[in-house]
Subunit: 246 residues, 2 copies
């Protein structure tokens, strides 16, 4: 992990941009974190729209989490932002768009072609980022995963034992294979669902919540459309991480 820049935000948070091999990412740390008092980490997931476009929302989440005493880190997704285009996934995305614009149901094949390669490639990258970030003396365990592509969150929760709690956002298409993986998730889960999310199948989200194997899982449904998660829902999610990571 090569740090490429460092600056202070709000006087109390250190933002460091890094490259993990060819993959850009960010690490935000409360300025008070040190080797003698390391802070727990939350991985900030995001949709595959590029870190540049997602930056304002990510930094807001990072500042909020830092105030609660968490470091946060995020990584560019494969095929997004400054990373090389990924023609197969872009083709699947075009097919998805065509189907949705035509008002047709989105087939399992399109969802598989769109999401599975992303999950297969991203999950080990985020694990590598975890290795790198946790090697820093001011960052300790346990680790939370928050938001973004829910299928990546599910995969990580299943394969990565350092993840102790996950806050997931029911807002994207989940391949059948990942739905089956959800049954093997056992960490505490906090699932946000935007009840009238125009881009999300509510019943599929409820079925997925039901499938999770976790003994502690909560579903929080709110109004406000896909991007309209109310502020109080963010506060409740923060309390979830504080409960499980501190």
């Amino acid at each position: 992990m090569q740090f490429t820049s460092e600056r202070r935000l709000d006087d109390s948070v250190i933002e460091r941009a890094f490259n993990l091999g060819e993959i850009p990412g960010f690490l935000w740390t409360p300025a008070s974190a040190s080797a003698s008092s390391p802070v727990p980490l939350i991985l900030l997931g995001h949709p595959p729209l590029g870190l540049g476009r997602m930056y304002p929302r990510l930094v807001a989440r990072a500042l909020y989490s830092a105030a609660d005493g968490f470091a946060t880190a995020t990584l560019e997704l494969p095929g997004s932002g400054d990373r090389p285009r990924w023609p197969a996934v872009e083709q699947a995305r075009a097919e998805l768009r065509r189907a949705m614009e035509a008002g047709q149901p989105v087939s399992d094949e399109i969802v598989d072609a769109l999401v599975l390669p992303l999950v297969d490639k991203a999950a080990p990258e985020w694990q590598a980022a975890l290795d790198a970030v946790l090697s820093l003396p001011e960052i300790g365990g346990p680790v939370g995963y928050s938001g973004g592509v829910i299928s990546i969150g599910i995969r990580l929760a299943v394969i990565e034992p350092r993840i102790a709690a996950a806050g997931l956002f029911a807002g994207s298409f989940v391949p059948r294979a990942v739905f089956e993986e959800a049954r093997r998730v056992t960490v505490p889960l906090h699932v946000l669902l935007q009840w009238d999310d125009e881009g999300n199948d509510r019943q599929a989200a409820l079925d997925l919540f039901d499938a999770f194997g976790s003994k502690e899982k909560s579903l929080h449904a709110n109004m406000g459309g896909h991007t309209g998660v109310p502020q109080f829902a963010g506060e409740v999610a923060a309390q979830f991480f504080t409960r499980h990571l501190k």
Copy 2:
């Protein structure tokens, strides 16, 4: 409203038992409440099992709410506790039990016969209690309604303009007429659903949540069976009332 007893709990809460005409009830007030600094009120709903049996859970909610600066009040339900038996409702309850024990679906007729008379009789009683409690100088508005028979909460939220927010527990049978009333609820709602509630039809609860007319409504689903609402869910509900009543 005749007060029949008064005592201090935990040194910081005043518990007063009262009779409203023939109907017994309780009022809990933070000791700090006064005419010059009145506190908002939460009505504590409960299932029709009698105030005596419900007392331990009610007083726990009252103490919790008092710590957040709320007065709380509750009233015996018609046909419960020390109030006169109500043969028609008891017969409907027996039919409900028979149907459930036989594994048969509970008919709309049984639900109507069981719940509608209770709602029709209880709602104006709770409004009368509200009149009496709000006439005390140390109690101010606005008013919240919390828990208990969800159909009573729905009716009160529709007909009682002093209720500014409601926390409802998706855990009982809702008559079709009350389901239609739910569309006319407009106050902010916080709905708790126990996901694996053995005594509750999950799909009916989701349909009801969908029907509520409120622009701000949140559904919080947790694990743990009918009586296993996790403690953190109570904390989140408390924050809902603090947000809307303070």
